[in-house]
């Protein structure tokens, strides 16, 4: 018997905090700034205790101006720092969209390769927590439209713990979208984990009858649905995209070419979404492998409702996935 545990149980929130702590210990150029990250310990308590551990120079509370502090982060990154900028929710990130798109994503190109921006922006995304239409949307698909940045969507505690490390080593801007509904989720981490690649999707659950492509909170609904379906003999392969830009199409194309059916599950609005992009790539590349039309389950195209029953009805759910898959893989009698 050994005293060192092989695995430790941890919440997604604590995994993110551990990632930040470890990065700050490993590299003194790393610092965290954003609204309420210091004294308050972070809106979702992710940075709780970090101010005490690292002091106000490295854990910096900012004014309520996303444009200003994201711009400051870009400047710091250009001057050699490795800033982690936290934006409280994805809806507020729109105030910094000008900085992200017109500066962070663009300066490497416009400076003829002279200035790269090694900036990491973390923000909370996703609905289902009854915080209404200004705090609940899933806009990561929009950001995936922008060349020049990477868009990560960690869904597991392992990715919550280890994607940040790889993101900080990246020479260019990386946006990490943490689904706020996952912060309390528990999972296990190997005690001796190490940084993960951030440009590959992963087959979370192998299967042969259909490929369910999803990311973020959608992953756990798809997994729940897959377990229900497995009891009736339908084996769904669940793919966690992990990263929306660059989009690892090889993984999902190979999978769909095997199962011949694809369902995309995306909390975001349907029109012009990342699910539309994935569907298009399947048609473009492996049309002749399809045995049924590609289908999508997306968020309802309404501002996120506040009442619980309406909000839940507006989001993809495991039962909807089960019913859709049953219809798609309908067997000959």
């Amino acid at each position: 018997m050994t005293d060192t545990p092989q695995e430790l149980e941890i919440t997604y929130r604590d995994a993110v905090r551990e990632a930040i702590r470890a990065a700050m210990h490993a590299d003194e150029r790393v610092f965290l700034m954003g609204e309420d990250v210091g004294k308050y310990g972070g809106c979702y308590a992710v940075s709780k205790g970090l101010l005490e551990e690292f002091g106000p120079d490295r854990i910096r509370d900012t004014p309520l101006s996303e444009s200003a502090f994201v711009g400051a982060g870009i400047g710091a990154a250009m001057r050699g720092m490795r800033p982690i900028v936290e934006i409280m929710t994805v809806n507020f990130s729109l105030l910094a969209l000008d900085q992200i798109l017109n500066n962070a994503a663009t300066l490497l190109h416009m400076s003829g390769g002279q200035f790269n921006i090694p900036l990491v922006i973390r923000t909370a995304t996703g609905g289902g927590r009854q915080v209404a239409a200004q705090h609940s949307h899933s806009l990561e698909g929009w950001y995936a439209h922008i060349p020049g940045i990477k868009v990560l969507t960690p869904a597991t505690v392992s990715d919550a713990r280890w994607m940040l490390d790889t993101a900080l080593r990246d020479p260019d801007p990386v946006l990490i979208f943490e689904n706020a509904g996952l912060y309390n989720m528990k999972g296990t981490l190997p005690a001796d984990g190490s940084p993960v690649e951030i440009d590959r999707a992963r087959i979370h659950r192998p299967g042969r009858d259909i490929t369910v492509i999803t990311y973020g909170a959608g992953l756990w609904k798809a997994v729940e649905a897959a377990e229900t379906l497995a009891r009736e003999g339908i084996e769904a392969e669940v793919i966690d995209l992990r990263t929306l830009r660059p989009l690892d199409q090889e993984t999902f194309l190979n999978s769909v070419a095997r199962t011949h059916r694809a369902l995309i599950v995306d909390d975001a609005w349907r029109s012009g979404s990342i699910s539309a992009e994935i569907s298009a790539r399947i048609m473009e590349n492996i049309f002749y492998e399809l045995d049924a039309p590609v289908e999508r389950i997306c968020g309802a195209e309404v501002p996120a409702p506040y009442p619980k029953h309406l909000e839940q009805a507006s989001l993809p759910q495991a039962e909807t996935i089960v019913k859709t898959v049953q219809r798609m893989v309908q067997r000959r009698g």
Partner: protein
């Protein structure tokens, strides 16, 4: 005006019975359309027309036995006649409410590969769509129909007369062709041993990338290598006609297919040189299926430029073939068997194939034939280029 005549569907076919017309007077036909079914000693053949035009008159009634060359139908081939009549024979508009059938892209692809007639398949997918499982189901029914248990061969004879009678007819046809070959063609025979370890290893790796039902068989590599080698020794690919050798540009490999009720047919894998291995595999499966169902096209019966006979599955090690006139060569393959094999002073065990060439000495000499076997061996050692 064009004439459509009873075709010669084999070296020694003298007459044929018209079984069925597939067209009516007034129908527009184009080159390659199947317009009649003809019964020969060997099988029922779907006969293609070689001109485009309008069917003017049918001169011979189904059931009639007529000599090769007899005019069966008159075609109007002039532009004016064709355009004037075409609208009248356009397919009638579909009745309202009959939607285009839902067929998945994968199902369409598989149906083409497996030779499944989509119009006869009942879809069981969502909204009645025809999907992969429906094609697999239809293909297995088709196979069951074509490959009946040996216990009841009489019930499924492919030709209208009794199977014993059909078999006698086929034997007579084979007898005529082979006797003529032995009488007229001075055969020479060459034989070589080919180390198959490289191609078989490559095949194993290639098949791991393919679904089981699309797996390649070794014979496909052999056929493709024959086509390539003929590119280097074209004199072996063609016909001896009017006292001279007439090499053909396209390689149509006649592939000897034995029939379950006895006898054999040698339909051609058309354009084998230009087909990929997968296409060749699919074409071969399709050809075997249609041969055994008695549904061959006339071009497949008449256009072979060389014959390959593969008796390896019967345990035979070496095949000395009889050339099918007017062709000038026949390639024989035996069983791939493990043998002691010395290479660079080291003795090992290798899978070895015996390949033979029967050549027509009027058309080529042994040296040219040897170059063919040498080229064949070389192509088989670089299977990735096949």
């Amino acid at each position: 005006m064009g004439e459509f005549r009873m075709p010669s569907l084999g070296a020694d076919m003298e007459e044929g019975k018209l079984v069925q017309w597939k067209v009516q007077p007034g129908d527009a036909v184009k080159r390659g359309d199947i317009i009649a079914i003809v019964h020969t000693e060997k099988a029922e053949i779907e006969v293609e027309v070689f001109e485009s035009g309008i069917v003017d008159r049918l001169l011979v009634q189904p059931g009639a036995l007529v000599p090769v060359g007899t005019v069966l139908a008159i075609l109007r081939t002039d532009e004016k006649g064709a355009t004037a009549v075409t609208p009248a024979v356009a397919p009638p508009p579909k009745p309202a409410g009959e939607a285009r059938p839902r067929i998945s892209p994968l199902a369409r692809k598989m149906a083409a590969e497996l030779g499944v007639d989509l119009s006869a398949v009942q879809g069981t997918g969502a909204h009645g769509a025809i999907e992969k499982s429906d094609i697999e189901h239809a293909a297995s029914l088709q196979r069951a129909k074509l490959a009946p248990p040996l216990a009841q061969p009489l019930a499924v004879a492919p030709s209208p007369p009794s199977s014993a009678e059909a078999y006698q007819g086929m034997r007579r046809a084979i007898a005529a062709a082979m006797a003529r070959s032995n009488r007229e063609i001075p055969h020479y025979y060459l034989e070589t041993q080919i180390d198959m370890s490289v191609p078989l290893r490559w095949l194993e790796a290639a098949n791991q990338q393919r679904p089981v039902q699309q797996g390649l068989l070794p014979v496909v590599l052999l056929l493709k290598a024959v086509a390539h080698a003929l590119g280097e020794v074209p004199e072996l690919n063609g016909y001896w006609k009017d006292d001279r050798n007439e090499p053909q540009k396209d390689v149509h490999i006649g592939f000897a297919i034995s029939l379950r009720q006895g006898g054999l047919i040698v339909p051609a894998l058309l354009d084998a040189g230009r087909k990929s291995l997968d296409e060749l595999m699919a074409a071969m499966a399709d050809l075997i299926q249609r041969t055994r169902a008695g549904r061959l096209r006339s071009s497949e019966i008449t256009d072979g430029t060389i014959t390959v006979t593969n008796l390896g599955d019967r345990g035979v090690e070496t095949v000395y073939g009889v050339i099918y006139p007017p062709q000038v060569a026949l390639v024989g393959f035996g069983r791939i068997t493990e043998r002691p094999w010395a290479d660079k002073g080291v003795l090992g065990v290798r899978p070895v194939l015996t390949a033979t060439l029967a050549g027509d000495h009027r058309a080529t000499d042994g040296r040219r034939g040897a170059q063919f076997l040498e080229s064949l061996t070389r192509w088989l050692q670089q299977p990735e280029k096949l």
